[in-house]
């Protein structure tokens, strides 16, 4: 007895001392790595393209030290930087939406694209654009009508989100909810097709390109709106980290911890609709980021704690979108350009398969 007693007492003591410190170091290292990866993705994406610009010069221009070449200055600041900033915002916004949806739906497969939230946003935007007979697809619209279109996209996203959430509370089974979400997405897209086809068949092509996602056509003017709104909503989402942690225990436990569950649900749903709606209005549909980034972040961090998962997912999402943009045509090696979704599917689809195979979807948690 006495021998085993001393064994039991001695083993946990050192682990309690060292584990938290090692863990803090690991988490900090991971965040540093993600930030470095993101920064290098930004620089490489700006340097590469149909005209390659030396990385040193890119850094000089970005840090405001000026350059001899006016052309390079224009390429970096007006052509490539907006694209990179848009990609960064889109990745972060979609990833943060994904994290929140997975917790709210208690479904590891929930994500704006998969559950048709993006399609709802497109439908909302399409109704306003076609109703106001604008010239192009967002391009050419004034700031006021841009805001109108963005608002409609957010509203469309919110409607689909509410419908799927209502269904998911009744059905419960994550895989069934997934199928229902996909169906809702198809319905919304069919609605868009009908609208566009009957009003102006010529714009169908433009819509198809838009729908499949691109960060290349976003201008500085548009970025001001996207940046401010997304930044604000991302801030709100980070504030929701602790209540979302409580929701991991289930709504009854969260309520017993003094959390106003309805208010957290409302704020979180509003922020998801805002982020997914705004990004879809300006960059089109970028699939699977909300799925791939959170699962990667949770796997790397080995925790579901939203205080860590939300920022880590935002960084991961931004990196994935920038890398996808590089592969999709920003590399200057090929002259073709792919839709972003065609690239992100290579990351997202395996994650869905992995979640389904590992049986997490059956248990209905993350």
């Amino acid at each position: 007895m006495s021998v085993s007693d001393t064994d039991v007492e001695e083993v946990p003591a050192p682990s309690r001392e060292s584990t938290p410190r090692r863990r803090t170091g690991y988490v900090a290292g991971l965040f540093v790595l993600l930030v470095l990866l993101l920064l290098s993705a930004v620089v490489v994406l700006i340097a590469q393209g149909s005209i390659a610009i030396p990385i040193g010069e890119v850094l000089r221009i970005l840090t405001g030290q000026g350059t001899e070449s006016e052309i390079n200055q224009t390429i970096v600041m007006d052509a490539r930087l907006p694209k990179v900033v848009a990609g960064l915002l889109a990745g972060a916004a979609l990833a943060v939406s994904g994290v929140q949806m997975q917790t709210l739906f208690r479904n590891p497969l929930a994500e704006p694209f998969v559950l048709g939230v993006n399609s709802g946003a497109i439908l909302g935007a399409a109704i306003v654009i076609l109703g106001t007979s604008g010239v192009g697809w967002l391009a050419g619209l004034g700031v006021v009508s841009q805001l109108g279109v963005t608002g409609a996209a957010v509203a469309g996203a919110a409607v689909v989100l509410l419908i799927t959430l209502g269904i998911s509370r009744r059905v419960g089974n994550p895989v069934v909810v997934l199928v229902i979400g996909v169906m809702l997405g198809y319905l919304a897209e069919a609605g868009v097709d009908m609208l566009v086809y009957y009003t102006d068949p010529d714009r169908l092509q433009a819509l198809t390109t838009f729908r499949r996602g691109s960060v290349r056509n976003v201008t500085w003017n548009e970025l001001q709106i996207v940046g401010i709104t997304c930044g604000a909503v991302l801030g709100v989402s980070i504030l929701l980290a602790q209540p979302l942690n409580a929701l991991l225990l289930g709504e009854r436990y969260a309520a017993s911890l003094g959390i106003n569950v309805r208010r957290v649900h409302f704020l979180s749903l509003a922020s998801v609709a805002g982020l997914a709606g705004i990004i879809t209005a300006y960059c089109g549909e970028i699939a699977f980021i909300g799925l791939a980034a959170p699962h990667l972040a949770r796997g790397l961090l080995r925790t579901a704690d939203h205080r860590l998962v939300l920022p880590a997912s935002a960084l991961t999402g931004a990196i994935i979108v920038l890398v996808a943009e590089f592969i999709a045509g920003g590399n200057g090696i090929t002259s073709t350009s792919l839709p972003l979704t065609s690239v992100t599917a290579f990351v997202g689809a395996p994650v869905i398969l992995w979640v389904l195979m590992s049986g997490r979807a059956r248990r209905g948690t993350q």
């Binding site: 225990l249 003094g258 704690d305």
Partner: protein, 341 residues
């Protein structure tokens, strides 16, 4: 227990149930409930299915408003407390197992500190101390770095208790904590809860279907009867007065005082087949068990047949000149003697 002790939880003329809603008529499940839970008491809540145990618990923790009357938590009306202040005094452990995904035991217990933090607030020294204490009190300190999903049901249950303790509650409510546990884990949990009443000073209220557990451990039993009332009493008073038998026992059932549980009564109840068991201690208990199983009744009357049982493995028994080894042969003998009657 002094008279001056302020109740941790008290109900005043409480009626619990459901208000009238669209297409749902209002239902009063319980009325005129007067209960007092003092600090450090272990209280078990028992009652048949559907009598209103869950409704009462939900009303006591503020998850549903009372139809009439009041619930006082630490002397303050539950309805006027903000959810946050309520969570600082009252913690719950629910029946259904939680599945939080990738969370360490420590992180889950740490969630119990949320009522003390703002949405952006970090962990203070006080929070860390409370988490450490909760982990130690619930006996899960050595599991703190493990993932909740990797634990057994019993361990997970204890972690959820630790999470509740981290709220530093005056009242801890557990909804059927023994539901998913095997016998050994139940006994562990019972011992732990008894210990917690002294270490934390909290009043612990738990609902259970396990009558033996409810009666053996409780300072006070709240019995939810079929007549929409709740009787609060010492476990012995409830058992001795027959209140438990009246509430739980269906036809052909009776309350076995020794086992502290409801048993099936003998269908025929043949009064002629009585025997006096001459043995002591455990041997006597199990000999009487064998006698009952054979359809006989054990009696104090030594004028009739006397069954002598002697220690040994197997035991040696003697009855009216017949003798045998082990209880199996005894039951066969008794059954065969009863059959021709």
């Amino acid at each position: 227990m002094t008279e001056e002790t302020r109740p941790a939880l008290q109900t005043l003329a409480l009626s619990a149930g459901y208000r009238k809603r669209r297409r749902h008529p209002g239902v009063t499940v319980l009325h005129d409930v007067e209960l007092v839970a003092r600090p450090g008491e272990l209280i078990t809540l028992i009652g048949p299915n559907g009598a209103g145990k869950s409704t009462l618990l939900r009303t006591l923790v503020g998850a549903q408003p009372p139809l009439a009357g009041r619930v006082l938590l630490d002397g303050q009306d539950l309805a006027t407390l903000s959810p946050r202040h309520r969570a600082q005094r009252l913690a719950v452990v629910l029946t259904e197992p939680v599945d939080v995904g990738l969370m360490s035991v420590e992180a889950v217990v740490n969630l119990g500190r949320l009522p003390y933090r703002s949405w952006v607030g970090g962990e203070k020294e006080q929070d860390r101390a409370a988490v450490d204490r909760a982990l130690a009190d619930a006996d899960v300190a050595e599991l703190r770095d493990r993932m909740l999903t990797d634990l057994s049901d019993g361990e997970r249950q204890r972690v959820m208790v630790a999470r509740a303790l981290a709220q530093e509650p005056a009242v801890l409510v557990l909804d059927e904590p023994t539901a998913f546990l095997d016998v050994a884990r139940r006994i562990e949990l019972a011992a732990m809860l008894t210990r917690l009443t002294t270490t934390t000073g909290a009043a612990i209220i738990l609902s259970t279907h396990d009558l033996g557990f409810a009666l053996r451990r409780a300072d006070q039993v709240w019995l939810v009867g079929p007549d929409a009332t709740v009787t609060a009493s010492a476990p012995e008073d409830l058992a001795y007065s027959g209140a438990i038998t009246r509430t739980f026992a269906g036809a052909n059932m009776s309350f076995d005082d020794a086992a502290a549980t409801i048993v099936v009564a003998d269908a025929d109840g043949d009064p002629g087949a009585t025997v006096h068991v001459a043995a002591d201690g455990r041997l006597r208990q199990w000999a009487e068990h064998a006698v009952r199983r054979a359809g006989w009744t054990s009696t104090e009357d030594i004028s009739g047949p006397v069954l002598k049982v002697m220690h040994g493995t197997p035991c040696l028994w003697q009855l009216d000149g017949t003798e045998g080894l082990g209880f199996e042969s005894l039951v066969i003998h008794l059954t065969s003697r009863r059959a021709p009657q």
